[in-house]
């Protein structure tokens, strides 16, 4: 029994790292643009397809394809930000939060349906990063998953370093705390917004590229991680990348544990997602700022 729970735990943590990358992207976007990006799951999906086609059409090796996917996801996000999100910075736009929700919602509908037409409805699968399965005592886990977790962790480390050490990263941090103060110090906030949306998208796209060999790529694959990402970001507290990472790991872990331990086996898998939603609802009631959230700044 203990072995079994151990295996579930390990697997849950691995998934959690991927969730963390996605959630980190959502958090970056929220911290700086102050909007919830409802199209995040679709950028994740596009990242997966970008990687697939880079490998299939351009012959890029799978590992390099991850970078290609992130770069293309970055550009796609920048494109959307420049064309659709600029009203967020204009003083005449009312209720910017609502605008952000509506605009990103529209983007998600657009991307999803374009993907069906462009990529076809059938699931596709890019080649594995590493073949085979690791068997270590009771733990059985595919190398692709281990690689994805490792690469995901590396991306998160790179992100943290970027936010703390690089000039642009610190600019992002500054703007997330106070737009006006950042402007006073001479930070070009428009560039920062674009950068933030791009970085958030790149993270989602990278996650999509990493899970390509693990899960089937399909145009609707973004819907489920989207909901998960919201749960995680709420739990971790919008605005805190560290919080998002911890919450992601917890969610990954608890989902596995839920399926393992829920007494009614018929319903355990079915209710696993409802479970994390309920947890999120509970957290929102008790601690609206999540575990590590920063003070929720006003939207305008």
């Amino acid at each position: 029994m203990l072995n079994y729970l151990l295996v579930q735990a390990v697997n849950g943590l691995v998934i959690g790292v991927i969730y963390a990358v996605i959630a980190a992207g959502l958090t970056v976007i929220f911290s700086i643009l102050k909007i919830v990006n409802f199209a995040h799951g679709e950028v994740y999906m596009m990242g997966g397809y970008f990687a697939y086609f880079a490998i299939a059409l351009l012959g890029v090796p799978p590992m390099a394809a991850i970078f290609v996917a992130m770069a293309l996801a970055f550009l796609l996000s920048v494109l959307f930000e420049r064309t659709l999100l600029t009203p967020l910075y204009s003083p005449t736009t009312e209720r910017k939060a609502d605008y952000g929700i509506l605009a990103t919602f529209g983007i998600s509908i657009l991307l999803r349906n374009i993907a069906i037409i462009a990529f076809g409805p059938f699931p596709l699968r890019p080649p594995s990063f590493f073949q085979g399965v690791l068997v270590w005592g009771p733990i059985v886990i595919s190398w692709d998953r281990i690689f994805a977790a490792g690469a995901g962790a590396a991306i998160l480390v790179a992100l943290t370093l970027f936010l703390r050490r690089s000039a642009w990263g610190q600019a992002l941090n500054a703007v997330s705390q106070s737009r006006e103060s950042a402007a006073i110090v001479g930070i070009n906030d428009r560039l920062v917004y674009t950068l933030a949306f791009g970085v958030g998208g790149a993270l989602a796209g990278g996650a999509g590229a990493l899970v390509g060999p693990i899960y089937a790529l399909s145009p609707t694959m973004g819907l489920q991680p989207d909901t998960q990402a919201f749960v995680i970001v709420i739990l971790g507290g919008m605005g805190s990348v560290g919080g998002a990472i911890i919450a992601a790991l917890l969610i990954g872990l608890s989902e596995g544990m839920f399926v393992a331990l829920f007494p009614d086996p018929t319903r355990s898998l079915a209710y696993a997602q409802a479970f994390s939603l309920l947890v999120m609802m509970l957290v929102l009631l008790v601690r609206p700022k999540g575990f590590f959230g920063r003070v929720h700044l006003a939207m305008e």
């Binding site: 849950g12 409805p121 059938f122 596709l124 699968r125 399909s218 989902e255 086996p265 018929t266």
Partner: protein, 425 residues
Amino acid sequence: MNQHDDARRGRGMTPTAWLTRRAALAAAAASIPLIGQRRAWGAAEPIVIGWVGPLSPPGGYAEGILMKDAAEMGADEINAQGGVLGRPLQIVYADTRGMPAEGRTAAERLVQENKIVAAFGEFHSPVALAEMEVFRKYNIPFMACDVWSDEITAKGYQQVFRNAPTISLIDTAIGEWIAAVGFKKVALLAEKNDVGLAARTAVAEQLNKAHIPNDSVDAETTTTDFTAQILRFKNATPPYDFFYSAFSEAGAYDLIRQAKELGMCPTPKCGMYNSGGEATDPTFWQNVKEAGVWLVTENVGLPQSGWNDKTRAFVKAFTAKYKAEPPGAVMESYDGLYLLADAIKRAGDTKPEGIIHALETTQYVGVRGQYSFATDKDPPWHYHQFMQAPLTLIQYDKINQTVNDAPILWPRKFATSKELYMTPA
């Protein structure tokens, strides 16, 4: 806020101008219905047939799109040979997205706007049930293609026929086979849609009848990570020796791969079944690789031994055009059109009574063999059901094997494998 008001006021017009504009809008809105009127130019007025099915989410759009392709192919072929009764066939495709309300409006539109004389297709039972009500209201013959709920024929509507097998037929076969092989404990996983649930219920019923212990689990159609559930199954004592899954969405591939990776099945100790069609779809092997070897699944097309010339021609043409062998659902769609065309030809006109009678007496031979539709109602789902709907259980024993090359396990009269079940190596 005042500057906004001023800006907006500046864009306004006099009330009369607004009234005129609004009246024009109302008139335009009222005329939308009239736009649908169609005039047939040219020598022969086309025979219009409607096709219904999911072409976008949340419906099963992957299969729907394939079924549409097959219908298009069929229509092109028929027209190339002079059409039906000297008139060209025109098919109008309606995307029903897997939602009953859409099915109903689509059916209404096909009848009222496009003036169809018959309809075929569909992939989701609840949608077909909604469409049937409309077709019955207007007395339009409807050939249900890939919907498996017993209700569809059990309702006894004169207009409704089905050329696909039904749950009672399919899952009885699967349950019988499992019992025949002698599996001792079965795990069932079903997707939470009409197909999955009905399949799981029917198979479980068969297993219970045979006193084989079984446990069922349901999963969301969007699930892609079954690891936790598979591990839970794997950890059961006594262990399961067969895993039946009714999962037709994209996650089916993940399910099969994860089951293999985690060492659950297919292994020498535990076999695996996947129902729903994914295992016969074009991208199956690309997605599952070796994990698909030893998987058992059903094929609703004819076993290769029973292929006739039409089957061979169709498979060749479809594979050439769409780069993939046609799964059973596709053949149902193709034959569905041909059945209607044949019925119209024999009836001599497009009146519903004629078509219905012609279908009841049909002996048309299509790519899935010879068709006939029962007219008894005992049990109720027999009515207008293609009772000899082909159904074979196949098991892949080589990677990248095509559906038609895979050894057939059941029914024994078509079996090409000596064993009832090939234990994985």
